[in-house]
Amino acid sequence: MKKPLVLAVGLLLGLCLSLGVAAKTLRLAYDSDPISLDPHEQLSGTMLQLSHMVFDPLVRWNKETQFDPRLATSWERLDQFTVRFNLRKGVKFHSGNDFTAHDVAWTFNRLKSSPDFKGLFQPFKELKVIDDHTIELVTNEPYPLVLHMATYIFPMDSAFYTGTDEKGSAKDMLKKHADTFASVNASGTGPYVVTKRQQGVRVDFKRFADYWDKESPGNVDEIVWTPIKEEPTRVAALLSGDVDFIAPVPPTDLERIRNNVKVDLVTMSGTRIITLQLNQERRTEFKDPRVRQAIVYAINNEGIVKKIMKGFGTAAAQQSPKGYAGHVPTLTPRFDLAKAQQLMQEAGYEKGFSVTMMAPNNRYVNDDEISQAVTAMLSRINIKVDLKTMPKAQYWPKFDERAADIMMIGWHADTEDSANFSEFLVMCPDKETGYGQYNSGNYCNKEVDQLVLATQGETDPGKRAEMLRKVEQILHDDAAFVPLHWQDLAWAARKGVHIEPILNVMNFPYLGDLVID
């Protein structure tokens, strides 16, 4: 009589044990899901997050903003124009194909034809295949950011993407808003394989059995990525245990999550600068540097960070965040109302004037509240602001028209380098070269332009950093724009999901290395 019972208990125990070691699943909720499986279709944070799961880059950023070898094991600069990379051997793609230098060359050429990436790869002349596991990246001019750009080269499985699909189109076709082979199929070398995808609802991943990185501590077998747009719902999903990992965490919920014993919060000072641009072409007043300085002195950006951002940001006095080559540590926020009023008086505008201002209301964290606070602060130096905020979809066309005297813009450098800020935000606007594309202030300073252009060909990091710091100093003294703050980053996960080691300031969680208890 006892035997069946023992057997049953044994079976049950066995079942429990096998469940214990069974698949570890991570349920993650971001604010969006990838628009496509084609890594070259769009250059955006979400697409890069996906790329780091399904593909591997040649090199990747680590926590110290240095480069870690991935598919490239080592590299050396041969001359002013050439950097040689040695590629990892014995790496397999998801399809089973071997990874070689030809895949890298194929991917490089595809990047050069992608509307989103071709600008970034403009400085490159070619990618030379030396042998199956050696390549050389050759630039047109001496170029200092070769490794920065190598973080964007996620080799794709060239054999897998060659040929035609059942509709008769080429498998490597790269087209926006089109149902291409590459947008629904993927074969990379990355730690995860996409098993199922319901766009806008969820994406399922399974760990790639033949993943090359055997030293990776990662032990997550399956990942379910659910986009949850609504911020309270995302937080609720974590707190109720329906998901394990969320990002971003809205500032209003930071305290609650920090005080909750069941979850961990990780925050980092981010690299996206939020600024206001003062349009000198629309307003002659803004041509006077004293007026621009007065505005910078009048805006209490430390107060904005403290009160509106709830400490979820770092007040700024320049574009480059700490850790970037051009960061000048001596530049600090300069709120001083008396000084601002005095400058207005010197410029002859003590009676003030009226201006228009536009800002988005769903693009940056608390953008609406920030612009209202700025309006109130500027009234203290008698500048009356007619403020209009709108959803980003409507804001960008207005921004392109330069439709208001003061406009808000945030910027994250795709190159993770100081020069990128200046190239897009403060260099003299030029339709031909594309510089100053987002310079709605029309600030134009030949010295700044020359310095920034010179950094593009300077391969000595020390000299280059000196030039970039000089640029920041000039922009600061000239009050070329109004720096507000760098937005912080925040992630949260339930206890036992060790997210801290895999997070970085680029906001690419390296989920392949994630450990779950």
Binding site: I35, S36, Q42, L43, S44, P115, D116, G119, L120, K176, H177, A178, D179, T180, S183, Q198, Q199, G200, V201, T226, P227, I228, K229, E230, P232, T233, A236, A237, L239, S240, G241, D242, N362, P391, K392, A393, Q394, Y395, W396, P397, D400, W411, D414, F424, K431, G434, Q437, Y438
Partner: protein
């Protein structure tokens, strides 16, 4: 009857045409779809090229003509985000929305009739007064707030019900997935349905209560009392029947309104239905999808209203006559 039907059909077609024209003409005010499709550092020239290739620079009449021609063949364009026919994307999300509306309708029916009738029969009882008070509060609180409060109470605090999504679904027929046949799916349906019903439920309780009170005052009810009929028979057979007629008419029209309220409920609960899809499409400036949604929802409204009119015509011949003369 046939003339009336043809007349209504003609009207419906005109309405659909106007809807298509309106929804197509607002697209210029929705923003620039290119911004959502490309990265921040893509040059203006590059964007202009893409715009040209997509036909976004053509004159309005050309674009509308092209759209109308395709629309008549059942093609409302391809969604930029989903890269598939917009109509197909919407129809795929339709079952989720219909299930949510069904859940909310059931809650409304099962609760509003007994509560409304009770309040009409016992207007002075403490329960009736409580219900009237609660229903005022219910009408006044916006759906998204109710939804968030429900999540905090039942998902976070008590941990009884899931906080988002549709849960496990079963594939039944022709690619349609349903959450009604799994325990997990039903658990997921509960909170969103309650949230969605929170606006309509108080309305129906009050509607049934006042209709019923009115009916109870009528002569034939007094005669019924005089005849010595049983109380239950008077209340639930004679009075209730006449109470429900106007309620059903209002209900038919309100189902359309409920589809509009799903936008908020679906967003808070991350419910993968049509309303959520629409809000996302607006954020992404996915114009073909926005237009297709407006047309589909317009069609639902037109169809339900036409049906209600037809049924009403059958039930109440005076309506048909006045419409016929007009």
């Amino acid at each position: 009857m046939l003339a009336f039907f043809v007349h209504r059909l003609g009207q419906a077609l005109v309405v659909m045409f106007v809807i298509s024209l309106l929804s197509f003409s607002i697209q210029d005010n929705l923003g620039d779809p290119l911004r959502e499709l490309v990265g921040q550092s893509v040059s203006e020239a590059e964007r202009q090229q893409l715009r040209e290739a997509m036909g976004l620079n053509d004159p309005f009449v050309n674009q509308y003509g092209r759209f109308l021609k395709k629309a008549l063949q059942g093609d409302l364009g391809d969604s930029y985000f989903f890269k598939r026919p917009a109509l197909g994307v919407i129809l795929e999300k339709l079952p989720a929305t219909l299930e949510l509306v069904l859940g909310a309708t059931l809650i409304i029916l099962l609760l509003s009739v007994p509560v409304g009738v009770y309040c009409a029969i016992n207007p002075r009882s403490w329960f009736s007064k409580l219900m009237m008070g609660v229903s005022i509060v219910g009408i006044s609180i916006p759906v998204f707030l109710t939804a968030i409060m429900l999540i905090y109470l039942f998902s976070i605090h008590l941990g009884w019900l899931p906080s988002f999504g549709r849960g496990e679904t079963l594939l039944i027929w022709g690619g349609y997935e349903t959450g009604l046949l799994t325990a997990d799916g039903l658990r997921h349906l509960l909170l969103p349905s309650i949230a969605l019903s929170s606006i309509m439920l108080p309305l129906f309780i009050r509607l049934i209560r006042s209709e019923m009170m009115e009916v109870l005052e009528q002569e034939y009810i007094r005669f019924a009392w005089a005849r010595g009929l049983k109380r239950q028979r008077i209340w639930f057979l004679h009075a209730l029947k006449n109470t429900l007629l106007p309620v059903i008419t209002v209900g038919g029209v309100q189902i359309g309104t409920m589809i509009a309220y799903t936008i908020l409920t679906e967003r808070v609960f991350q419910w993968p239905g049509m309303g959520f899809l629409f809000l996302e499409a607006v954020n992404r400036v996915d114009t073909p999808l926005i237009i297709a949604y407006l047309i589909v929802v317009g069609l639902i409204f037109v169809v339900t209203n036409t049906l209600v009119d037809l049924i009403y015509g059958l039930v109440n011949p005076t309506v048909r006559l006045t419409r016929g003369n007009a």
